[in-house]
């Protein structure tokens, strides 16, 4: 097991190097001159030269890549050409918001996806099954950003059930930062005002972000449950008089969860990409929002940094998924 994890981590490191080359290459195919762009329209030739030197844009590509890579190893993602901020400092500011949102969303999608899948399979061809199937088909087709806007329109603007966007009301001070997740910080410092406010802000964006994942997890878990429930071992357990509930919740579900886990890993990646949309719709101050703001101005360092960080996160999540197989199915061997 240890060997397997080490091997996987090594392979992740190699992929990460490849990823950084791809991202770096992408950033340099830009037709415009980034130095000119950063200097502004009225800049003199000297000013452009200064910027070019400052960001090392005058050196050969390979040297630029090597110095970029050297920076990456030290956790230095370079500086934004537009705001001149250190990108890593910005990311540190925005990353917790994104992860808080993604964790809430993926937990929601996993819990309810599995639940709906099981219910739909157990109550096959009843209204529960039909509505779960209808939802699982439309859920993946609905444009996330549009769903967000519609919910804002209905639940926030019309019925005032939720705030329109943001992480906290402007009148409320951020909690003392310990984990930098507002929900957790509010909870452990006993700051109920913050907790409640943060919760009411996160519900809509998390719901929207989890929607496609929830739909596809429901769908695959239903299909797997249906298949497993017809297997001989389930019949055998029934014959032995094990309660229906225990069979479903423990023995059948555990078998059905293996393909579901694959889907969860896949959907997690989509969800990371989806933060770009959801954070834009809900003014959520995360790195998706940050990347969009930078990309619109062809400000490249932030976009590269976000791509590398979320790519790494996705790879680690996949490693976790692969280890989950062994947990669910003792026959799985890691080599």
């Amino acid at each position: 097991m240890k060997r397997y994890i080490l091997k996987r981590l090594l392979s992740i490191a190699i992929t990460l190097i490849g990823l950084s080359i791809v991202v770096f290459a992408v950033s340099r195919i830009a037709p415009g001159d980034p130095a000119k762009l950063a200097a502004g329209p009225d800049a003199t030739e000297e000013m452009v030269q200064v910027i070019r030197k400052e960001f090392r844009l005058d050196q050969p590509l390979v040297i630029q890549y090597v110095s970029y890579m050297r920076g990456l190893l030290k956790g230095n993602f370079g500086r934004s050409i537009r705001t001149r901020h250190q990108v890593w400092e910005d990311i540190k500011l925005f990353l917790p918001a994104t992860f808080e949102l993604v964790f809430v969303s993926i937990s929601f999608a996993i819990i309810f996806g599995i639940l709906f899948g099981v219910l739909s399979a157990v109550y096959r061809d009843t209204w529960i099954d039909h509505s779960a199937r209808f939802f699982s088909v439309t859920g993946v087709a609905i444009p996330m950003f549009w769903l967000g806007i519609m919910l804002q329109l209905l639940l926030a603007a019309r019925f005032h059930l939720f705030p329109i966007g943001g992480r906290l009301d402007t009148m409320i001070n951020s909690p003392i930062s310990i984990t930098r997740f507002f929900l957790v910080d509010g909870l452990i410092t006993g700051n109920w005002v913050v907790f409640k406010n943060a919760l009411s802000h996160i519900i809509l964006p998390a719901f929207v972000l989890s929607f496609p994942a929830l739909a596809s997890i429901t769908r695959i878990n239903r299909a797997e449950m249906l298949e497993v429930l017809h297997k001989d071992f389930v019949l055998n357990e029934k014959a032995q008089g094990i309660s229906e509930r225990l069979i479903i919740a423990k023995y059948a579900l555990k078998n059905a969860l293996i393909p579901t886990l694959t889907m969860i890993g896949l959907r997690y990646g989509w969800m990371l990409g989806g933060t770009i949309l959801v954070e834009t719709v809900f003014d959520w101050p995360g790195i998706g929002y940050y990347a969009v703001a930078a990309a619109v101005y062809s400000d490249f360092q932030p976009v590269m940094a976000v791509t590398v960080i979320l790519g790494l996160n996705f790879m680690l999540a996949n490693l976790l998924v692969d280890m989950g197989y062994g947990f669910l199915d003792p026959r799985v061997r890691y080599e």
Binding site: A141, M144, F145, W146, I149, P259, W270, A295, V296, T307
Partner: protein, 306 residues
């Protein structure tokens, strides 16, 4: 009556053609029959059909052709849905119905271009990797894995960010994001086909590699490719709308659905129709292609699950 007349030259070619293709026609009939038995597939098929028809005849059924190119009628701006403007008008008085209809044709183009470019890159690479194996396979699959390790929308954003916003760059970016999926699919399929006895047989009677690839491997890859293309068609349209929405895809006044929603969002909550109708168009289109792709998969490629 004429169809059985063997002296008619056109009909005799037709019957000969029919006889030669008998097995294909039969399997096509079976596909159609099985599809028609599944209500969801029929709904999907109908949605896709409506989408295609609207995309093709769009220019003839719109009521305000000038509004597509960015005409301005400030006296008509922000009108709610009414008989003369069924979907209302936007911030400069353009008819949203006309723009959504023309957006259909645009989406069809976007989807087709992305899928064909992705297939054009992915299918040959997949066959090469799967058929030749060894370090070629290792090399191609490594690169594929790198591309698959980045959330697609994020990579597309990065590429468009580098190339500059615009509909052409968005399509290019999405094609770059999409090809690795086809490599994976075709490589896996080729790997298993390579071991089949009919490929072995062809090899043993001295068929060239090209002949094996084109006559034996590729035809057997078409079903999964068709299924994936049908599913991807909807997803590609959705992703293009995503990019349009965040402002790096199609730029106003191009009547692209995502960009229209992006503009409409600024006029909420009072002018709800601006964002609502283009969104419904996306939903129905993507839903149609997904349902159709699902049905096709059950018929053409029953082994695959996800």
């Amino acid at each position: 009556m004429n169809s059985t007349n063997p002296t008619n030259p056109i009909n005799s070619t037709w019957t000969r053609w029919k006889r030669e293709r008998e097995s294909q026609i039969r399997s096509l009939k079976l596909t159609v029959y099985t599809l028609s038995r599944s209500p969801l597939s029929v709904i999907g098929f109908c949605f896709v059909l409506v989408f295609l028809v609207i995309a093709l005849i769009g220019p003839w059924i719109i009521t305000y052709p000038g509004d597509i190119k960015g005409a301005i009628h400030m006296d008509q701006k922000l009108r709610p849905p009414s008989p003369s403007h069924p979907f209302g008008t936007d911030e400069v008085g353009r008819d949203i119905y006309s723009r959504v209809i023309i957006g259909t044709g645009l989406s069809l183009q976007i989807g087709l271009i992305i899928i064909f470019v992705a297939m054009g890159i992915g299918v040959p690479l997949g066959i090469i990797a799967g058929y030749f194996g060894g370090w070629v396979n290792e090399f191609i699959m490594r690169i594929t894995d790198i591309f698959l390790s980045i959330p697609g929308l994020l990579l597309a954003l990065a590429i468009v960010g580098a190339l500059g916003p615009g509909i052409k760059n968005a399509m290019l970016a999405l094609s770059i994001v999409w090809w690795p999926g086809y490599v994976r699919l075709v490589q896996g399929k080729t790997l298993s086909l390579r071991e089949e006895s009919f490929v072995e047989a062809a090899k043993s009677i001295g068929a060239s590699k090209l002949r094996i690839v084109f006559n034996h491997i590729l035809p057997n890859c078409t079903s999964p490719i068709i299924v994936k293309a049908s599913m991807d068609m909807g997803m590609a349209i959705l992703f293009a709308a995503n990019l349009g929405f965040i402002g790096v895809g199609a730029q106003p006044p191009i009547p692209e659905w995502g960009a229209m929603i992006s503009t409409g969002r600024n006029y909420l909550p009072d002018h709800w129709w601006m964002a609502t109708f283009p969104g419904l168009a996306i939903l129905i289109t993507v839903l149609g292609f997904n349902l159709l792709g699902d049905g096709l998969r059950d018929v053409l490629d029953p082994q695959s699950r996800i």
